[in-house]
Symmetry: C2
Subunit: 394 residues, 2 copies
């Protein structure tokens, strides 16, 4: 931890590497306890505990089709020219030689049946059917346990729940399911009132994407005392302050956090986003984000998203789909600094979009994604194949 030094009207003396900031987050953000949800509300949530099959699936032999349960031996030699007649009995009673029972798909087979005869291979009579073809034993039936044995692990804890998972959970008899609780994030917009608050809708969306829920803040703190009050950490898992993190005279976010709790870092070797800070109040992690929207966006992608994903039990790394493309122009970075560049994809590569300002969000919006130049590199030469983190949700 740095000892607190007021950098206002001074500038940052040093900046912490992004890897140190993500390690700090990883050490302090772990998956939250579980909550129980109705199955239909658990899509895309993280399963909190293993689900095993309480009994074999299917529990008893069943038919896979609509048709007649028969004994295969009773159909041997049947043809359209020489049909064999079977007597229909109610489904459920044991099938004796020479009998058949109507069974709908998914229903249990009667004892004694060993195969299913489709409607297309018979003609109905009066209390009888005429079998027009032979069927092999085992056709269109499932034995008990064919899908899974009793006790089989069906869904492992930590899994992100897909639609079919919820159906399978229902089949085991569950109405509800235990998932990692949503991280509750207090989002404190401390951006000066000069410009519209671009950060709140942007961060609300980002936090939602990664599995968090934003707790509303009643009002924008415009001075130190108001921010101190807003930092009261009751009932939230993460606090995010946007703005007031720079070196101007009104940039009170870092001194207030240092006084209210712990300011672990202020100043990050990230561009844009270098006025980011990290700390805690009453054990709750606090992330101080730059107010300029583009800086806020990328710092949130790297740090807030990571904290939310870890609290939500999700994989910690960026969730973006990536593609690899050759750069069409060089990217110049500084050794020690993690630099982010919005790029547009073209048929033959990735074209960086010039952006002179950490306030300009339009380059980010126009981009198909972004390139991260890691701290240890001084950039990429033209033609270098780089990973592009795509903006599209899928």
């Amino acid at each position: 931890m740095q000892s607190f030094r007021d950098i206002r009207l001074q500038g940052f003396a040093n900046r912490v590497p992004v890897a140190a900031a993500t390690a700090w987050i990883d050490a302090r953000c772990a998956a939250l306890p579980s909550e129980t949800l109705p199955l239909a509300e658990a899509f895309d949530r993280i399963l909190a505990a293993d689900i095993a099959a309480p009994r074999a699936l299917p529990p008893v032999p069943r038919s896979g089709i609509d048709g007649y349960a028969v004994r295969a031996a009773d159909t041997v030699g049947a043809s359209g020219y020489a049909p064999l007649t079977l007597r229909l009995i109610a489904n459920g009673a044991p099938l004796t030689p020479g009998t058949a029972a109507l069974v709908e798909a998914g229903h249990p087979l009667p004892p004694g049946a060993d195969t299913m005869l489709p409607f297309t291979l018979c003609e109905p009579g009066q209390g009888t059917i005429d079998v027009l073809n032979s069927v092999a034993a085992g056709a269109d039936i499932e034995s008990a346990g064919d899908e899974a044995g009793a006790g089989a692990l069906l869904l492992a804890a930590g899994r992100c729940l897909h639609p079919a998972d919820l159906g399978l959970a229902a089949i085991t008899g569950l109405d509800t399911i235990s998932v990692v609780r949503h991280p509750r994030v207090r989002l404190i917009p401390a951006t000066p009132g000069l410009t519209a608050d671009a950060n709140t809708p942007m961060l609300t969306a980002l936090i939602h994407r990664d599995g968090g829920q934003v707790e509303p803040v009643r009002s924008t703190p415009t001075d130190s005392a108001a921010l101190r009050t807003a930092l009261n950490a009751t009932d939230v898992d993460l606090i995010v302050v946007c703005g007031r993190t720079g070196t101007g005279p009104e940039d009170f976010a870092a001194p207030v956090l240092a006084e209210a709790g712990e300011l672990a870092f202020h100043g990050l070797a990230l561009r844009p986003g270098d006025s980011t800070g990290l700390g805690r109040v009453a054990g709750v992690p606090v992330i101080l984000l730059p107010g300029p929207p583009a800086a806020c966006f990328y710092a949130a992608e790297l740090l807030v998203g990571r904290a939310v994903r870890r609290l939500a039990g999700r994989p910690a790394d960026l969730p973006h789909r990536t593609v690899v493309r050759p750069l069409r122009r060089k990217l110049t970075s500084e050794v020690g600094s993690t630099d982010i560049f919005p790029v547009r994809l073209s048929a033959d590569g990735a074209e960086p979009i010039p952006s002179g300002s950490s306030f300009a969000l339009y380059p980010t919006v126009q981009a198909d994604g972004f390139v991260i130049v890691p701290a240890e590199l001084e950039g990429y030469a033209p033609g270098t194949a780089v990973a592009i983190f795509l903006n599209d949700p899928i």
Copy 2:
């Protein structure tokens, strides 16, 4: 349209190609009208109307950093050995030669200033600053319109809204945004009560993923009259019936739809999923899905998802991320039938997961994704590189 023929206890006489079913949906499902939402609720929605810049961005020249607005000419020759002293004036007044004004990042430059001096290049005095280095004109400032000119198209209609888009919309002065309305989907579980209703949670999740909202149904219709009542199409954009679509005596979904409105198709050349049907009631599309969960799942992926995505203004094709891998075993299909196979990915290929039953959801859950063998092929030989539609949301 087929004329209605009751296939119960008979079997399907013919099955419609999947391409005909998707064409039917495409012709009847178009993007819904717009609704207006607060920006923070519009993530991942489809923008209904273009958003242009109402004025230049930025509207006036602004500073990109915290520091002092100066005239570059006033810093020429300054050094640590020979600092030049400038008199501080309040920000806002025109900068005359020999003066400087404290300006925070993002704030307008005072008239007369042409560059910014960072705090690290000066020493504060009493109402003055000592400049320790020269700065070039234009450093760390943005001119009006640098980001976008007045009237520039910032966000085009049809775009899926990303987090940064919402920030940019806020910057233009918007509090709300016009997006394509959520499709309202009535989901009618007509699965016989024999087994747990796996389909409702599964389909609720699928519909939600694709941008739809499921309207609750009060009770499961257990007979024709109850289904007829549930098909009343008030205030919904799509109706989905699950179950009762097969050839058993209780499979009343298709006859009820034929009587209540229009049954366009019943019987689809899709495996699993061949008892799927399509039609309309009072102009509202109705999709009849098979009750067996695996059949229901894949038929829903191909048809319900498509209808929901089109109504929601999203791209119609499957939203899954795909990868291409060689098959490790052959897949056998039937010409004319679209066949779907769950597969598991391994380091060197895709391994089909055997599934004998349209009831068995566990193979789908165990799979990393699925392969679609199109109608015109009779399968794939081992080693064929095929596209795999991945189950993971991202």
